[in-house]
């Protein structure tokens, strides 16, 4: 039996193992490689995507659990890097190696969608599950504040 998943507005049917993790469908089947593997245990956040608007660790989600749901990856956040979080990331020179940044951006975008004007503590709570080894955390914090401020104007 094939599963139907909608990724970035496009419906795909998948015939393989229904227990395959969403991450590997995105990367290996649909070639949406912007979503990254980091740990395979939901510990680092590199694989974060949105499922019905909620941030989800795609390395932990079976495909059959998201069948019929709306999945958004970094490629679908905007078509032209125009999302306020992406713009703020550029303005604050956030990325270094860049590998974790898709996950950081998806988590931050979900935070602002739910909490347009987050406190420092709310930012801490939302972002604490996304690891960055290059040490871009202070810039991520500034970028989230910048995006939130921009939205208030």
């Amino acid at each position: 039996m094939s599963l139907l998943v909608t990724v970035n507005g496009v419906a795909h049917s998948f015939d393989g193992d229904p227990n395959i993790r969403l991450l590997w469908v995105l990367r290996d089947v649909l070639t949406l490689t912007g979503t990254k593997y980091g740990c395979g245990m939901g510990l680092c956040g590199a694989c974060t995507v949105h499922v019905n608007g909620q941030p989800v660790r795609s390395c932990q989600v079976d495909l059959n659990a998201v069948a019929g749901k709306r999945i958004t990856t970094i490629e679908g956040l905007s078509i032209d890097r125009s999302h306020p979080i992406q713009q703020a990331w550029i303005a604050e020179d956030v990325p270094q190696c860049g590998y974790c940044q898709s996950g950081q951006i998806m988590t931050a975008a979900a935070l602002l969608a739910a909490t347009p004007n987050p406190t420092g503590a709310q930012i801490d709570q939302a972002m604490d599950g996304n690891l960055c080894r290059c040490g871009t955390y202070p810039r991520i914090r500034r970028a989230i504040k910048r995006a939130a401020q921009g939205a208030r104007k």
């Binding site: 393989g16 993790r21 290996d28 912007g34 490629e75 270094q96 860049g98 290059c134 040490g135």
Partner: protein, 718 residues
């Protein structure tokens, strides 16, 4: 087939052309006269199309440190290129690599901007002189009346202007100047400016291609089941259940590392690996544990070999009226780049193509030739964006494995090391022990200083490294260089080394040995200050005197910006440390508190650095900020331990790195300088652990001499 990463014929030609043409920077143009009429391509580093579009080739791996922007800036500055029309292309290690170009591929040791500073600017300057001459000839005016503005030659007297694209053919006919004149600093338009990183757009929309993002048609995804014990081998295995997993295509025994599973998706490969039945022969290290490692790192592990021995420190220490000694302990640490090790390879009958996050693509080319039996000229190596290297991706065990699997399966293979493999089979920062002694004369002057380092040697593991003169004598100067070059002055000064031997693989971990030795040196000098009742900052200045003005300058700047000596809120304390790494000087002041649960919290870090001329301040600031946080992870959390022959950490729950809420604000202050750039990838890493440890000691009134500074360790000390 439409691979996401394509071989760039231009970049291939650029390298090949440089090889055929002799001199690296000033070689004759590439592709012969026919091609030169389409593009102006005076050397291996750049070409200009008739459209005016300028291509600059990059030989270094972009791993977050900013070379993708900073190195093209060097070429573009002297070329006087229109920066908005510059395109950067990663050079491929192709069939012919000119010997002098090879050195430009290796990415490590904070050396990229330093080693490129002269040659890349000269490459740009040579091209600019040729373009000016071409325009002057066209206008029939003296060269001296011409100059450039970004992207164009101008005739100052008449105001005439020739965009570079219109000069492509004429400039291609001009001989390459051997000694192009570099701009005066006052003429710089790009160097020193906050030029936006060129790799940022692709890193915020997911389009940047990292190693595991490479896709070619028919690609198989592979993982390897590895013996958890070093040196262990496969006793027997049964592939039946693994082969039954849908999507699994191959199960292959690898002589050295384990059993590989290749499949249509990574998921199927992981499921296949799970289904393998393997019996391991764990070999001679099955009982390796921390107790045994501690014995192997013992003070008496072997004969000490001195690297520096001024006067007679050991004798003077015996006779000093006041003598202090302390021992510092630094554990193994893992690299933990968020991008795990991975590499893609495709071995055809007549060529081999490799894509990956590689710090030394040129070295891998030789390895791949050996593995495949193909000539060097048949091996193409593409360096992708590197998702964090930190020294681990300078060792290509993972890439050799990918080539071997591609050869065996006759398919393109993407090998991937899941997080557990990446941590448990890391080449760790060497663990070390440091025995420091200092003696003071009756007037209170430092009379003798001795630092003994006991640590495994990186180079002693490698065939090429074992041949080194120092390694032959039982000395590793990579370990002793920093301690032998501290700023503190004593007439009797000794640094020696004991080469410890453990079965644990070690490697270059961002700053190599400096994070261990600086911790010891800078904590010890702090202890001396406290013992003598002096301020740790002014005590350092007194010991330095006028001997090391640049260390002095960064210390003074960091102390001033941090408000050293000014009151702090209750419960907070400051610590200071300084380090010279290569020719880069860094001082930091950390402001910390220790809570009821003995958890260290770092609130603020002030980092002052002198790294010579700053090519791009925005990138340098990012590097220094990031270095502080990288070092802070190790200072507070990083520790790899062993039991029953196995590394006890395997994922981010037990190999912890700093989290978002734990990161302090880092304030970076760059000292102005006229010295050539000296590198910033590593030099700020070693300073943070001693700065924090010194602050913790000030806060607690007790000294912790062992990293990391975990609550458990702090509780033991109190």
């Amino acid at each position: 087939m439409n691979p996401c990463v394509r071989v760039s014929r231009r970049s291939f030609l650029a390298i090949a052309g440089a090889g055929a043409a002799g001199p690296l920077v000033l070689g004759t143009r590439i592709g012969g006269a026919g091609e030169s009429t389409k593009e102006f391509n005076p050397n291996a580093w750049l070409s200009i199309a008739r459209s005016g579009e300028t291509t600059i080739w990059l030989t270094k791996a972009e791993m977050g440190q900013g070379v993708y922007t900073a190195l093209p800036m060097l070429v573009a500055e002297e070329l006087e290129a229109d920066w908005s029309r510059v395109r950067v292309v990663q050079a491929v290690v192709g069939p012919v690599v000119e010997p002098r170009l090879v050195e430009f591929f290796g990415t490590g040791g904070s050396s990229s901007v330093k080693s490129s500073w002269e040659p890349l600017r000269r490459a740009g300057a040579a091209a600019r002189e040729m373009l000016i001459r071409a325009a002057a000839e066209r206008w029939n005016v003296p060269v001296s009346e011409c100059g450039t503005e970004p992207g164009s030659v101008i005739h100052r007297t008449s105001g005439r202007r020739a965009p570079y694209g219109t000069l492509v053919e004429a400039a291609s006919r001009i001989s390459v100047p051997e000694h192009p004149k570099l701009k005066d600093r006052s003429e710089w338009r790009l160097i020193g400016k906050r030029v936006a990183r060129l790799d940022t757009p692709g890193k915020v929309d997911g389009s940047a291609t990292f190693g595991s993002d490479v896709r070619v048609s028919g690609l198989l995804f592979a993982v390897v089941a590895r013996c958890p014990v070093y040196g262990g081998t496969v006793a027997s295995f049964d592939a039946k259940r693994a082969m039954a997993v849908p999507g699994v295509r191959h199960v292959i025994a690898l002589r050295d590392t384990g059993i590989a599973v290749a499949a249509d998706t990574t998921w199927a490969a992981l499921e296949g690996r799970e289904a393998l039945d393997i019996r391991w022969n764990e070999g001679p290290h099955a009982d390796l544990d921390d107790v045994r490692i501690a014995k192997l790192l013992n003070y008496f592990a072997g004969p000490a070999v001195a690297d520096r021995n001024d006067g007679d420190a050991l004798r003077v220490l015996e006779t000093c009226s006041r003598r202090l000694a302390a021992t510092y302990v630094v554990p193994f640490a893992a690299h933990c780049a968020i991008e795990p090790l991975n590499c893609t390879a495709w071995v055809h009958s007549d060529k081999c193509e490799i894509w990956g996050p590689l710090q030394y693509a040129d070295v891998l080319q030789k390895d791949a030739a050996e593995i495949t039996g193909l000539p060097l000229s048949a091996i193409l190596v593409h360096t992708t964006f590197v998702g964090g290297g930190f020294g681990r991706k300078a060792e290509h065990d993972f890439a050799r494995e990918a080539v071997l699997l591609a050869k065996e399966t006759k398919s393109p293979v993407q090998l991937f090391w899941p997080r557990e493999d990446d941590i448990m089979h890391d080449h760790f920062r060497p663990a070390s022990r440091h025995f420091l002694s200092a003696g003071f004369d009756p007037q209170g002057h430092l009379a003798a200083w001795s630092h003994r380092i006991v640590a495994p040697s990186l180079r002693a593991q490698w065939d090429w490294g074992r041949k080194a003169e120092d390694i032959q004598r039982g000395l590793d100067k990579w370990a002793t260089a920093g301690p032998g070059d501290v700023a503190y002055q004593a007439a009797n000064f000794r640094v020696d080394y004991v080469m410890a031997q453990t079965p644990v693989p070690v490697g270059a971990w961002r700053s190599v040995y400096a994070s261990q030795t600086t911790f010891a040196d800078e904590c010890f000098v702090d202890e001396l200050a406290v013992a003598l009742g002096k301020d740790p900052y002014t005590f350092r200045l007194d010991l330095i005197g006028s001997a090391a003005p640049l260390q002095r300058a960064v210390l003074e700047r960091a102390a001033r910006e941090a408000g050293w000596g000014k009151p702090l809120p209750p419960g907070r304390a400051r610590g200071i440390a300084v380090c010279k790494y290569g020719e880069t000087y860094v001082a930091q002041v950390a402001e910390v508190s220790v809570d009821r649960n003995a958890q260290v919290r770092v609130h603020r870090v002030v980092c002052a650095a002198d790294c010579g001329i700053v090519v791009n301040p925005a990138i340098v600031e990012s590097q220094l900020e990031g270095s502080v946080l990288y070092g802070l992870s190790a200072a507070l959390k990083g520790e790899i331990t062993f039991a029953h022959g196995r590394c006890q950490q395997n994922n981010f729950h037990n190999a912890q790195i700093l989290r978002f809420s734990e990161a302090p604000e880092v304030e970076v202050h760059l000292l102005g300088s006229d010295r050539a750039p000296s590198g910033v990838g590593e030099p700020a890493v070693p300073v943070i652990a001693p700065a924090v440890a010194n602050a913790v000691s000030a806060a607690m009134g007790r000294r912790i001499r062992q990293l990391p500074l975990t609550p458990g360790r702090l509780k033991q000390a109190s």
